[in-house]
């Protein structure tokens, strides 16, 4: 495959991946979970003989003026999202549910103040920045600055695609999202470096070859590895997504999206980027 020659096609594919997400980010933003905007989630299991619907639960909550609560049903588990509740309000809410339905079991509750959200966001951005700078330094030290810049742009590209997907589908962003993003970064970088390492090695062996051909060859030589590694990594992810329960669903979705895009990026975007940067610099 002539990846460098046909790089424009891949840029266009990337734009197609990026633009809807970016528009969505501006238009509807992200669906921030309570970790970021504050609020409460109460997680209960209701195993009534009769089917209890989310609407039933919401109706019951009217008694404590929480009929605006967002109620989500997953099997017999219900997630009740409200504004931030005090401990007393949480207790009242549980009491109402227990009175209304048979066999209400408390599974978990989370309550986060709005100030925490700001801190989390700041920490998240800060950690992304630090990770990015450290990687740039390391790659520059081990390779050349151009490789580092190409890798970091590839990372940004990836993170932006994942953010866009989360915005488009309005999947919830929780504090674990940042963990997913950092893992995606680590993984994209991992993939990209395997390819760049090949470029570095090939450069040492045959200096005469045009850079364009050499890049192509390096990507193709590492292609099997890239595909197999993404396969062995997403197999457990898919298993966790399917069988791992509702708690980590969005965490897994973020990683899955990130890893698939990551493989694409490292094959079709990082090397063309390296080519552009090297060309501009020369």
């Amino acid at each position: 495959m002539q990846i460098i020659e046909k790089r424009k096609i891949f840029y266009i594919i990337s734009l197609i991946l990026l633009i809807p997400g970016i528009i969505s980010l501006f238009a509807q933003g992200l669906n921030l979970g309570i970790d970021y905007k504050g609020g409460s989630i109460i997680n209960v299991r209701i195993e009534d003989k009769e089917q209890v619907s989310a609407a039933d639960v919401r109706a019951a909550l009217a008694e404590v003026d929480q009929d605006k609560a967002e109620v989500q049903k997953s099997g017999s588990d219900f997630f009740i999202r409200t504004n931030e509740l005090t401990q007393e309000q949480t207790n009242e809410l549980m009491a109402v549910l227990k009175a209304e339905f048979n066999s209400v079991e408390f599974l978990g509750a989370e309550s986060v103040g709005a100030t925490i959200g700001n801190e989390l966001t700041r920490n998240a951005l800060f950690s992304l920045l630090i990770a990015g700078v450290l990687m740039l330094i390391y790659i520059t030290y081990r390779f050349e600055w151009a490789y580092g810049v190409a890798a970091v742009i590839a990372i940004l590209h990836n993170v932006l695609v994942v953010l866009g997907v989360f915005s488009l589908f309005q999947w919830e962003i929780s504090s674990s999202f940042i963990a997913a993003v950092l893992t995606i970064i680590g993984y994209t970088i991992n993939d990209t470096i395997i390819i760049f390492d090949r470029v570095r090695e090939n450069l040492r062996m045959k200096r005469k070859e045009p850079f364009e051909l050499l890049l192509n060859k390096s990507v193709m030589q590492t292609l099997n590895r890239t595909i197999n590694t993404v396969l062995t990594t997403i197999l457990p992810l898919i298993a966790l997504l399917l069988f791992g329960g509702a708690t980590i669903k969005f965490f897994m979705l973020a990683m899955l999206a990130g890893f698939i895009v990551g493989a694409y990026t490292s094959i079709f975007i990082s090397s063309p980027l390296l080519y552009e940067i090297k060309n501009k610099a020369a």
Binding site: Q87, M94, E105, L107, G186, T232, A239
Partner: protein, 411 residues
Amino acid sequence: MQRQPSIVAVIAIAAAILLLGYFAIQPIAQSINLGLDLRGGLRVVLEAQETEGKAVTEDTITKAIGILRTRVDSLGVEETTLYPQGENRVVIEIAGEDDPEAAVDILKNVAQLEFQDEQGNVLVTGENLENAEARMTQSGASTAEVLLEFDKEGAKLFADATKNNVGKPILIVIDDKVISAPNVDEPITDGNAVIRGTFTAEEANNLAVQLRSGALPVSFEVLEKRSVGPTLGADSLDKSLKAGIIGLIAVLIFMLGYYRLPGLIADLSLVIYITLVLGTMSVLGAVLTLPGIAGLALSIGMAVDANVVTYERIKEELRFGKTLGAAIDAGFKRAFWAIFDSNLTTLIAAGVLMYFGTGPIKGFAVTLSIGIIASVLLVLTFTRYMLILFSNVTKNPKLYGVEGGAADANN
């Protein structure tokens, strides 16, 4: 001549590893501390509220932690951790509490007890309490009351207070809320008092605990609270383990199917890998959280990556027509820096996460980091040794995933 002993060695090693996996993994896994999200529990972050004339200092927080610890201990739970965070916060983690929500009630309130006269003058405060105890109002009654016992100074103050207010009510105020206002019939000099309200047994008990432990030096607000009931914890553990095992089996099958003999080595090394990672976590006292299990499952994919990189290199060398031994040698040499550089950068990301993350996320970063290091070490030692050992047993290139002899690897 080399043949016989090698086959025996290969079978013995494989059998030993499978036995290790079968017998060691479970007990090791059970010795690892589970996070609150898997065993059930409560994590609360309280923030001290500055009020006029009451600055929050390190001393305030230390004192508050002492008081909070007494309260937590009264719950009789197995494991609690209290520690300050930043300048004005206290983090409380309680594991294995059946009713994590109830624990919040007892922690949060300041429990500043005051006896006031009609004019609002403070006569005695909770500082002079010797003891506080809950009891049912009458035997068989559904309401409870709290019995107070003052210390010497308190008894004197209370005696004076009641003497001066005979025929008038005394207000019992907790955290600026009037709980009851009984009329004083006659002076009380024995240093005992009773708070009657409409308490349930539990409420009275909580109040007694709070009064016994003393009032918090400042008021606290719940900044963040996460509680996981025992059912959800067990559920998460069960589901994520099952999913992790399914993922692991999928990877094992894939590696065996795609890489054949080296795939088998990768599979064996995965068994060691998991034992090693769990063992390290157990030794370090690291906490396994739900995201941590996800991280572990994920690291399985990354762990075989070092194998994949190496095997692909070996295949290439074989296609160039090298002998198996030379191909293995060259494969490892060529793959080394790729593996090193790529894993080190991933480790940077995990390290940053470990530094900034809290709770379950930190668990994820720890698991991932241990996994990365273990996988690289394993491929450089075990995989290499096994490949050389296997190459003495059979040199059939088909078993290494290469058809025939020297084909051109250049695309």
